[in-house]
Assembly symmetry: C2
Homo-oligomer: 278 residues x 2
């Protein structure tokens, strides 16, 4: 194959504010309803033709199941180099992003001739099967504040969006192991996610997004004590924050974290979605 060249893609990070769990027998229709937003920060994935498969993350050799599953699905071997400024495993949808970036870059460099829908399907199924995400990939492909009205990859998962960008502040305290409620009692999550998504759809604004995400977080009780303490500090300062689903990460729009006395990382909503590197 002489048509293989190096190619790269950018996929924005994605913070989920509220969600449901929708398991089916098919990874393409498995997923989640809910709402989240993409960030200007994210992952860049470079795919190079190589005789032997390899994956590196910020220069360190590693194995990432979502990436491996995407390479399997596309039936290619390649050297995959991933870089990110976001912290891993803390609620930024990076597993899904790495898979989607691999799919986009491989399609470009290996001239696979897949459409965007086909590549999103591959990356969504890889994320679901790896157990690392339910709704990140479809939101990352679209960009902005994304409402996931139906679960699953296109053409199953109908999406909408709340327009506009916004300054984002976040603080990451650490990873969060998959909470018992998610595996043992997903109906609790889904009940809260369904109710707050309906409330957000009745008033689809950025203010309502953060309000309903905060309600969802309180209702499902996933915040650790130190996350809870920050959320209360922000509220006491007249602001509003919530937690990233799922990581020990607090996020707010505007200056609500810094105005509560914290020193957050500053980013912005990315309205553009995943794209092949120009």
């Amino acid at each position: 194959m002489t048509d293989q060249t190096v190619a790269a893609a950018f996929v924005p990070g994605h913070i989920t504010g509220l969600f449901t769990v929708n398991q089916t027998a098919d990874p393409a229709t498995t997923g989640s309803r809910g709402a989240g937003f993409t960030l200007k920060d994210g992952v860049t994935v470079t795919v190079r033709p190589a005789d032997e498969r390899s994956v590196s993350l910020d220069g360190e050799a590693t194995d990432i199941e979502s990436v491996r599953r995407v390479l399997d699905a596309l039936a290619i071997d390649a050297a995959v180099e991933i870089h990110t400024d976001l912290p891993i495993g803390t609620g930024f949808g990076l597993s899904g992003g790495m898979g989607l970036g691999t799919a986009l870059a491989a399609n470009e460099g290996f001239e696979l001739g897949r459409t965007e829908t086909e590549l999103i399907q591959v990356a969504h199924s890889a994320d679901v099967e790896a157990g690392t995400g339910l709704g990140d990939v479809v939101a990352q492909a679209r960009g902005g504040i994304v409402l996931r009205l139906d679960p699953g990859a296109p053409p199953h998962g109908r999406l909408d969006g709340i327009p506009g960008t916004e300054r984002v502040e976040f603080l990451t305290l650490g990873e969060l192991s998959t909470p018992a409620v998610l595996t043992d009692n997903p109906e609790t999550i889904t009940r809260a996610g369904t109710r707050t998504l309906e409330k957000l759809q009745s008033d689809p604004t950025r203010e309502q997004f953060i309000d309903t995400a905060s309600e969802f977080s309180a209702e499902v009780g996933l915040a650790t004590p130190r996350l809870q303490s920050i959320l209360e500090d922000v509220e006491a300062a007249g602001g509003m924050a919530s937690m990233a689903m799922l990581g020990e990460t607090v996020f707010a729009f505007g200056h609500d974290l810094s105005e509560a006395g914290y020193d957050p990382t500053v980013s912005q909503i990315d309205p553009s979605g995943a794209r092949v590197w120009e």
Copy 2:
């Protein structure tokens, strides 16, 4: 109303390469199937609260039906300022873009609380009712090389995309009055559009896009003699070009127009789609 502020949006220009005509009794389901791509160049629309409605284009007062219809649909009066580097009326989907930009900016500045789908519906219907476009708005909202698999605004019009960006060259000779074939014999257009869209779907690549657009153009015979002469020059130089539907504009990817001895305007495919100005 104290919540009104000035806001702006960018909408990429959109060149249609091949299309069908799908008329229904409802503007939301009226539209076209086909394929086109968005440009880094486009329109910026600024919407300011004002007691009296006004619209200006590059500093000149004017009346633009798609914009007027969007303001009507959103029930607002505002001063709308539009700027563009692209030539008007020559196949860049600017009427639709001005309507969509007005909708996005008005939603932001007037805090209308509409979702992206709702704003795209408003702008698509305005473009259809003004008779200025059938498929530009939905493609401009998404960005990239957009395949319109079904006609109409969301949730009716299912879309897909061919990933990637590309250098674009174009030459604009002038406006093109609506050709007789479009009004008198739309079935001829739709037959050619259906066949070439199927061919593009069977090999969804940038190369196949320009090939099928060129086939569509030849089959429907809309090229003026001087457009035809440029298309032949590019082909003689080993390249491939086609015409924008509908304007007296020739476009090519890469350097195919300059390598045929022309001095084209240079742009690039915009993968991001319409967005509120940051």
